[in-house]
Amino acid sequence: MRTRKTACHFFIALAAMLLPSLALAQDDLNGANTAWILTSTALVLFMTLPGLSLFYGGLVRTKNVLSVLMQCFSIAVVISILWLLVGYSIAFGPSESAYWGGLSRALFAGIDLDSMSGDIPETVFAAFQMTFAIITPALIVGAFVERIKFSAMLLFCTLWTLFVYFPVANWVWGGGWLGQMGLIDFAGGTVVHVTAGVAALVTAMILGPRKGFLSAATLPHNLTMSFTGAAMLWVGWFGFNAGSALAADGAAGMALFVTHISASVGALTWIAIEWLKYGKPSGLGAITGMVAGLATITPASGSVGPAGALLVGLSGGVICYYATAYLKQGLKIDDSLDVFPVHGVGGIVGTFLAGILVSADLGIFSGNGLAEGATIGSQVGVQVTGIIATGVYTALLTVVLLKVVAALTGGLRVDEEQEQQGLDISDHDEKGYSM
């Protein structure tokens, strides 16, 4: 979330996060920064509505398209309200704890027109962060499409965001223990992509595969829709990463540029691999490689340079490609829309690489420089700690929450007949297409 070129910057940022209203009451509002974060807020919401929804919607079958759109849409609705109720407070509240922000900002208590977060209004910061809280559970949707009950989906995503996303956001960005350790996660490699990816993997394993998994019976119904959504994700990601600079400055410009390069390299990597391996590059492969490149650069987008971004995109593209094949064909896990191998693995690779490519001693591949006193070795150690801590915590909580939700909703899955009929009719009594 924040570049930490020096320990000094780090502690100022930390103080700013811990004591937003006290420490920063004197800060003058910066109009340019405020305008950019308002814009970024819209861009990141646009990633979920409609970007991710269309991307995912096209990848399922005709009979389930509406259910996927509804899943993403209703997550956005519910998580927004949850954010107001307790989410912002848990993630960014001013508590002394290194594990959560407390409840003093519940229902935005104490936040008014004049409240500031750094040199932007606190409402703008809170709204920007809210859009991250929305897209993270929406990413998990890709793991359980075409077979989960709507009730189970909604309850799980609500509880998961409450007990996994909000605390982890605090640990990394809200002044919590991982942030204090110096973890580099500019825009959500661990907070967004590792948590969503690991939750997707666990959910797919517990839920079991769709009927007809690995046969032609489950192929995408509309890749035009997926292309449209994927392109929106690419554009929206500028707000995601460059907005995470929390200012309209050079850090934002560099984040935007490295994000773009990594997306391009990720896409080209998949095009090249499929072309070499199967004789033809597929469109779905190209856009999936693009998402892999974007997920991988996310944690590193505040620390690497343009040449470093080439390496990040290339690594993300290659590793996510083979992870996707291995998870589906090798392990036979029906993480239906490949959330873990693309987002989870991308987040892990990017968070790891950020610890290396941040270094200013790598020649043309140099990044913005390590924090004072840190070495590549020590930074990589912190990065690995961050990956393992967020991954393990997410996995454990996801298992527990799925058990709770299954007990409350009488099973996570629709029955076999409803799955055959499609969730549009069985869960919503309507059809995506009438033709």
Binding site: L214, S215, A216, L219, P220, W270, I273, E274, K277, Y278, K280, S282, L284, G285, T288, Y321, T324, A325, K328, Q329, D338
Partner: protein, 112 residues
């Protein structure tokens, strides 16, 4: 009267239509269908994995004709739709009991 049903490669549909018009056939019905015969299916690539698709897209043409035209129509379809490769399709010829033009109530050959 006969009902001729031809399952052909979709990209040959226009050629067949032209060949039949040249014979004086003034109406036909075209439907996009899926099926397979000896050609079997093909493979599609999704995220680095190949899937076997059993059903291939084909075009189905239905033409009602007078008995004396059957042979010419079948020949014309074979010529226009043929590529010499597997998957060119099939033609089915069946007896047709009655034809009625809804607007005028004409029946039989008059309605063709």
């Amino acid at each position: 009267m006969k009902l001729i049903t031809a399952i052909i490669k979709p990209f040959k549909a226009d050629d067949v239509r032209e060949a039949l018009s040249a014979l004086g056939i003034s109406g036909m019905t075209l439907t996009e269908v899926k099926g397979f015969g000896r050609q079997k299916g093909h493979t599609e690539l999704y995220r680095g994995a190949e899937y076997v698709i059993d059903f291939l897209p084909k075009a189905k043409l239905e033409i009602a004709v007078a008995n004396d035209l059957v042979e010419q129509v079948v020949d014309a379809i074979c010529k226009a739709a043929g590529t010499g490769k597997i998957g060119d399709g099939k033609i089915f010829v069946a007896d047709l009991d009655q034809v009625i033009r809804i607007r005028t109530g004409e029946t039989g050959n008059d309605a063709l």
